[in-house]
Amino acid sequence: MRGPGRREVTGGAQGEVASPDWPALLTGVARGDRRALSRMISLVEARVPGWQEAMHQVFMATGKARVVGITGSLGTGKSTLTGRLAAIFAGRGRRVGILAIDPSSPFSGGAILGDRIRMTELDRLGVFLRSMATRGAHGGLSRATRDAVRILDAFGFDLILVETVGAGQDEVDVLRVADVTLVLCVPGQGDGLQAIKAGMMEIADVFIVNKADRSGADQVVADIDAMLRITRVAAEGHLAPAVVKTVATAGAGVEELADAIESRLSAAGGGRITGVGEIAMEVVELVEARLREGFWNDFGARERLDRLVAGGGDPYFICRDILPDDVFDELFAAARIRLPPD
């Protein structure tokens, strides 16, 4: 879904747009060409025609990477900690790629992607870092995060860190890509961790109490321990959630955290992103996005909408004008002929 004020701008007087050389890009990614990697992410993210066939090729080369998700409210230290973890894992011989998500503006569609300034050590370690804006997605990831994870996997990264936007209680999409999920808390977030109790409480494989040099850190640990005792047991194949204290800016506790992640990665196995339920949900999203974009961009529906809204109509009337019942029925009749039920 797009926020208000975002419009697809197509056509116009600009110069001809080059068509991507997908086979060359795929070969480049397979060969470890970093420029092909980053261009491929851009093209897939922009949904440039041919992207689904290219991703089909990419998909067949995936399955080796493990994915760690890092989430938590804004200002808890996700970026700093992600940088620290990447450095440690790179030092342990892993090939590390990072996807760092920041929000797109609901007004302009623009974004400030500021995660690189917290990850200054990565250059010399060969860690790949790509910043992505949410571009209208609401679950804490961007719409192409899953695609980018797969491209990094096919490229040869064996550990992929996915850092979400500053997330609230309900932005738990990271669960659907990550084999192991880290949830960051900090002292002073509220008694009994009100902020994370509901949605986020359930998704953590490791709780991190960051900024643990501040007063109140032990209380946060105690609150989490208490909650863990009274709530669910670990999901199948997952170890019980751990609680680790860190001071990410100083690097304190991060080695222990890396150990906790390693043991949980071994226990969880890989392939969360290819689980049956996840694939089904992803297909539903892709089909819906295709229908939505096709409808609004191809039939002049957007212009009609603007005109009718400007004319002061009510939403129900305008909806029936833009998509009358007979048109809707015809669309589905065509689909039924082409795609008979099994």
């Binding site: 747009v17 970093r34 910043s131």
Partner: protein, 138 residues
């Protein structure tokens, strides 16, 4: 669609960050994704960020002499590694002579103090649109 992706960097030990932050906000509001890397950047870190992030424009903010030293090195490095994103330079201490020298190096646009916001956005939009057409991401 977004207007483009823009890297925003400050060179060397230049401490002045307000201008870059202001430009970042301006471009965000104009529909750009701004990859903000901030201070203490060198030609090699800028190269790495530009490649990983596949940016359409590289923006350098300067309020100190560093650009005179680093820009020749940066332009040579980008050329050598075939990074096709144009470089835009902006800051308060660029003289007319400097601007000419920078343009001669291949810098696509130079903005001194007093530049109009609209002129900056228009110029960067045009450069980004052009680059996105070449990259196929338009």
């Amino acid at each position: 669609m977004i207007k483009g992706r823009m890297l925003l960097a400050i060179l060397g030990t230049d401490q002045h960050e307000l201008g870059a932050v202001a430009i970042a906000g301006l471009l965000r509001d104009a529909g750009f994704e701004v990859v903000y890397v901030g201070r203490f950047q060198t030609p090699s870190t800028i190269l790495r960020s530009a490649v990983d992030e596949d940016v359409d424009v590289i923006g350098i903010s300067c309020h100190s002499w560093e650009f005179l030293d680093y820009l020749p090195e940066l332009m040579a490095l980008l050329c050598e590694r075939q990074v096709d994103a144009p470089v835009v330079l902006g800051g308060s201490i660029i003289t007319g002579e400097d601007a000419k020298a920078m343009t001669a190096l291949g810098v696509a646009a130079v903005f001194g103090s007093g530049s109009a916001s609209a002129a900056i956005v228009d110029c960067i939009s045009a450069l980004a649109t052009d680059r996105r057409a070449r990259a196929g991401t338009a």
